[in-house]
């Protein structure tokens, strides 16, 4: 077997490559000049990404770097940043303790702030890649344990795919959200001391950054009580121990999560000084005050929705997201990590303000489940549909908003195709995750009756 380099090397290599790319882009877009004030900070790269390849998709209004900086500036100048009814989590306001991110006037602080910015957006990505490898090593079935190729590929896919690079270059806070979520999952798989508390704390934090992570709580709790190891091939009911103990353990975990969540809520409220930030951050992802286009399905639907049906469909779309949680957790109770993976795909496809980071996370997670690959029904069509939508989205967004020759329908069509790709991937993942279970049984039968022809069918 070919020897792959170890994963820390891979992560380091990818990070250096990304930094080189970012720096050369930065130098290309704003050559160093003495007029430091006019060539202000690293926003040129952010603008380039947000106007070019990442137009509309690299960040949503809830993860946009300009909105974060605006909140920090307003907070710094004593103006309530949540007055507009849409904003990012108050926890981000803690960044204003580093005044260099707000104020760029002197030249030396500019260079510092630029370095600081790169650091702020590189470290979470490095951690994300490391967490992914940790999740993989905790899960890897024994047959795959020997191969380190996945441990090498995982960071590469996550860090070097356009889904990872564009949000990083656009300084989307989705990078942070992914890192926190991956941390929560990695610790849930880890079974190190205090892993439950660490994991729940990080999930509570992730819920604060963006509310949609709430639906990941049930599979995460299953994961904390169960094991991350691949059990797809040998499904069995979850209740390993007596029912009562499981319920009590789950209840105490939920309570612990709520405690962290309330503490973070209290901290946020203390930072801002009022409770209205909740409607501006969480409420915004539920009620869609900004119709800014994104790769998701909500924006055009609610742009074109008749006014008197808007509240009804907002409720429908929100409940629709919740409806997947219980069935998927029940069906995949033997492998909660897989349930979590499918819910990540559902989120990336159906949440209100999805960005490339959400898609990137779902795509990177595919590498953790190599055992299901043989049972996928249509991986290649799914990939082609995804590619089609991924290539057309920036093009059509540009034609519509910058060039003025396309209209909204073009971009909408490409996001619709993207949603189809996401849906196909999720459906295929569900199929393969269930189909693999029959294989073991099939093999047993095969051993008994030599040379017999069989098919696997599904029945209602």
């Amino acid at each position: 077997m070919q020897q792959w380099p170890s994963y820390p090397k891979a992560i380091g290599f990818c990070i250096v490559l990304r930094l080189l790319l970012a720096l050369s882009l930065d130098l290309y877009l704003s050559p160093p000049s003495l007029d430091a004030y006019s060539s202000h900070n690293g926003d040129k790269v952010v603008q380039f990404i947000n106007d070019g390849p990442g137009l509309l998709s690299a960040s949503s209004p809830l993860t946009l770097y300009a909105n974060l900086k605006e909140s920090l500036w307003l907070y710094h100048h004593g103006i309530d940043p949540y007055g507009s009814g849409i904003g990012q989590s108050p926890l981000y306001l803690a960044l204003s303790f580093f005044p260099s991110i707000v104020d760029h006037t002197p030249i030396n602080s500019q260079i510092l702030s630029k370095a600081f910015e790169y650091l702020l957006w590189t470290i979470p990505d490095a951690f994300s890649a490391w967490f992914l490898v940790k999740i993989w090593t905790a899960r890897a079935p024994s047959s795959f344990k020997s191969s380190s190729s996945i441990a090498f590929l995982l960071p590469t896919i996550y860090l070097l795919s356009p889904y990872g690079i564009l949000p990083f270059l656009a300084r989307s806070t989705g990078v942070w959200e992914n890192a926190v979520l991956l941390g929560a999952i990695a610790w849930a798989c880890d079974h190190a001391p205090n892993f439950k508390s660490k994991s729940l704390l990080l999930l509570a934090l992730r819920t604060h950054l963006s509310l949609d992570a709430f639906i990941l709580l049930p599979p995460l709790i299953l994961l904390l009580l169960g094991s991350p190891e691949s059990m797809l091939a040998e499904p069995r009911p979850f209740a390993l121990r007596a029912q009562f103990t499981v319920f009590r353990a789950a209840g105490s975990l939920v309570l612990e999560f709520m405690a962290y969540w309330s503490a973070l809520t209290l901290i946020s409220t203390l930072i801002v000084g009022h409770w209205r930030w909740m409607s501006a951050t969480w409420g915004a992802s539920l009620s869609l005050p900004s119709m800014t286009p994104n790769p998701g399905l909500w924006w055009y639907f609610f742009t074109e929705m008749f006014d008197h049906f808007r509240p009804f469909f907002l409720v429908v779309f929100n409940i629709h997201l919740l409806m997947y949680v219980a069935p998927i957790c029940i069906k995949f109770q033997h492998d909660p990590l897989y349930a979590l993976f499918i819910l990540l795909g559902i989120l990336a496809t159906f949440k209100s303000y999805p960005t490339l980071s959400d898609h990137g996370l779902f795509i990177a997670f595919w590498a953790i489940f190599p055992e299901v690959y043989p049972y996928l029904r249509h991986p290649f069509p799914t990939f082609l549909v995804l590619l089609h939508s991924a290539l057309l989205q920036p093009l059509f967004a540009h034609l519509w908003l910058s060039h003025g020759t396309g209209n909204a329908n073009f971009y909408y069509a490409s996001t619709l195709v993207g949603a189809c790709a996401g849906g196909m991937a999720v459906v295929d993942a569900v199929w393969a995750g269930l189909r693999i279970a029959i294989e073991k049984a099939g093999k047993d039968v095969k051993e008994v009756v030599e040379g017999e022809e069989m098919v696997v069918v599904t029945q209602q």
């Binding site: 004030y37 055009y300 009756v449 696997v456 599904t458």
Partner: protein, 548 residues
């Protein structure tokens, strides 16, 4: 006979009472000025003073019965609105065109922002809230003036009290007074607004200066606007109705001369004076140089102004000025701006999602100038204050902007209010720029002509003058022209299609996921019927793999 005499006596007495009513005074005034570029500004002002009247105390709004309203000269329909909503001070202007401060100087009436602008000082602490009364008064005025003032709703209402201090006094009621201000740049002033306006005058347009208000000529002028101002002074409540226009005699004249007269400007003369007017004066501002003739002979000349009292004399008045030579546009000599500072405002950027707001202010004086800069942006354009960059003569000067106050916009609900103080060094040009994000609107929020874009209200610059007691007083306001912002539009023809497509995709994915989740996987042996499994539900199938 006796009865007839009694009736005549009564009639006489009542007319004496009416004429000698000292409570109400009406004055009319017209100022005409020839401009540097050959145009002529005319500013009509009709002032009615209701002596010893006070605005209604909003605490009395709880009781239905208001004191009876008896007006002789004061417009009743307006008085009723003011009392019903207990408005202390009110300003309404409807203008069209761009006032060129550099070439025309300051206007006689300072509110020259394009479109409709309405602002009111309203006292609080009543059973009916300020916002309810604000809504009521703008709807009532919309009905009174046939203007779309109803669209000055909460999406356009701001409260920039620093830029708009009360012009009159505020009664000492121990109540908080609040300002409500709204402007709508796309509203066009038209004849249908002037007709109800003239009805508010005691002589209508039948006599006095109002005879000159010929709609054909007013709305033909390069710049025209009408205004209504109600304010309270210790001596009483004053209602000032004004009409301002900038006409171009060069355009009308066949010879290219800048001669003007009432007849040439308005196609009318003042046939008779308004009998109830206490004074009816015309002031002609004389040109500073050149040979000209003012006719008829002015009754009084003070400084550079010639005055006429239209109550003297009985013949029709046709005042005017004549020049012996053709007008030559002063191209050769430099044209220094007539105002202490000049402003340019632009919205830059080619894309429909982002842009840059740029303001260039030039200080034309030898002294440092302090300006209060007010921007009332609808929520569709979101300012990014962290990107504010201030340059003075291309040198970055972050210190020249101070006292920033900012009310954030609320999507679909509230505009933003941005106020700051700009300090302009002597003879310098200050550039302020900031990034803006353009919003994406719901399809029902777009106007019918969505591709045309949205008119943004004008920015307002108010010079802050150092006064004796250390504080600063505000000078004459300067309005910038409005801006047009190009917003991304959805496809208006396909709400059904979008709803159907999106719902189909969601339903399809939802259905597929649950289809797979609710299925049971079984093994079927094809070629060994003797080894059939015990499960009776399993049957041999011929197809290779069935998923349905």
């Amino acid at each position: 006979m006796l009865r007839t005499n009694l009736f005549l006596i009564l009639l006489f007495l009542s007319s004496v009472i009416c004429l000698n009513n000292t409570n109400e005074e009406f004055e009319e005034n017209l100022t005409i000025k020839s401009l540097r570029d050959g145009r002529v500004t005319s500013s009509f002002s009709f002032k009615t003073l209701f002596r010893d009247a006070v605005p209604r105390d909003p605490r009395t709004l709880a009781f239905d019965d208001d004191e009876s309203q008896h007006y002789t000269l004061f417009p009743l329909s307006l008085g009723q609105i003011l009392r019903q909503y207990a408005i202390t001070e009110l300003h309404l202007t409807l203008n069209a065109g761009k006032w060129d401060y550099d070439a025309w100087g300051y206007p006689e009436e300072s509110d020259v922002g394009v479109g409709a602008e309405l602002r009111a000082w309203i006292a609080g602490n009543s059973t009916i809230s300020i916002d309810e009364r604000w809504e009521g008064v703008r709807n009532a005025l919309a009905g009174l003036f046939c203007a779309s003032l109803g669209s000055l709703d909460e999406q356009r209402t701001t409260s920039p009290h620093r830029s708009f201090p009360p012009e009159g006094g505020l009664p000492d009621w121990d109540l908080p007074h609040e300002l409500r201000h709204a402007s709508h740049a796309s509203e066009h002033v038209c004849t249908e607004n002037l007709t109800p306006f003239l009805k508010l005058l005691p002589c209508k347009s039948l006599s006095g200066l109002a005879m000159l208000l010929n709609p054909h000529r007013i709305f033909d002028a390069d710049w025209h606007g009408i205004g209504l101002h109600v304010l309270w002074r210790p001596e009483g409540v004053e209602v000032r109705l004004n009409v301002q226009l900038v006409s171009d005699p060069l355009r009308i004249s066949a010879q290219g001369k800048q001669d003007w007269s009432f007849h040439s400007l308005f196609d009318r003369k003042v046939e008779r004076a308004c009998s109830v007017a206490k004074s009816s004066r015309v002031c002609v501002e004389l040109p500073s140089s050149g040979v000209y003739r003012v006719f008829p002979e002015p009754q009084e000349i003070r400084g550079r102004n010639a005055f006429y009292d239209l109550k003297d004399g009985s013949e029709a008045w046709d005042i005017g000025t004549m020049w012996p030579t053709d007008f030559e546009y002063p191209l050769s000599q430099p044209n220094p701006p007539l105002v202490p500072f000049s402003v340019r405002r632009n919205l830059l950027g080619a894309t429909q999602d982002r842009g840059q707001l740029s303001i260039v202010v030039t200080n034309n004086q030898q002294d440092t100038l302090q300006l209060l800069y007010l921007e009332t942006m609808p929520w569709i354009v979101q300012l990014y204050l962290h990107t504010i960059r201030v340059h003075s003569d291309d040198v970055p000067r972050g210190d020249l902007i101070s006292n920033i106050s900012y009310v954030l916009p609320v999507p679909h609900a509230r505009p933003s209010t941005f106020e700051c103080v700009l300090t302009l060094p002597p003879r310098s040009t200050l550039t302020v720029s900031m990034d803006v994000a353009k919003a994406f609107l719901r399809y029902t929020e777009h106007p019918p002509d969505a591709q045309r874009g949205w008119d943004l209200p004008p920015a307002i610059f108010t010079p802050l003058l150092p006064s004796s007691n250390g504080s600063t007083a505000v000078g004459s306001r300067v309005y910038t022209p409005s801006l047009l912002v190009d917003l991304a539009t959805p496809d208006f023809s396909m709400p059904y299609n979008v709803i159907i497509f999106t719902c189909s995709v969601v339903a399809f994915i939802f259905g597929s996921v649950f289809n797979v989740l609710t299925r049971k996987f079984v093994i079927v042996r094809l070629n060994s019927p003797q080894n059939q499994p015990k499960d009776s539900r399993e049957e041999p199938v011929d197809s290779k793999k069935s998923t349905s």
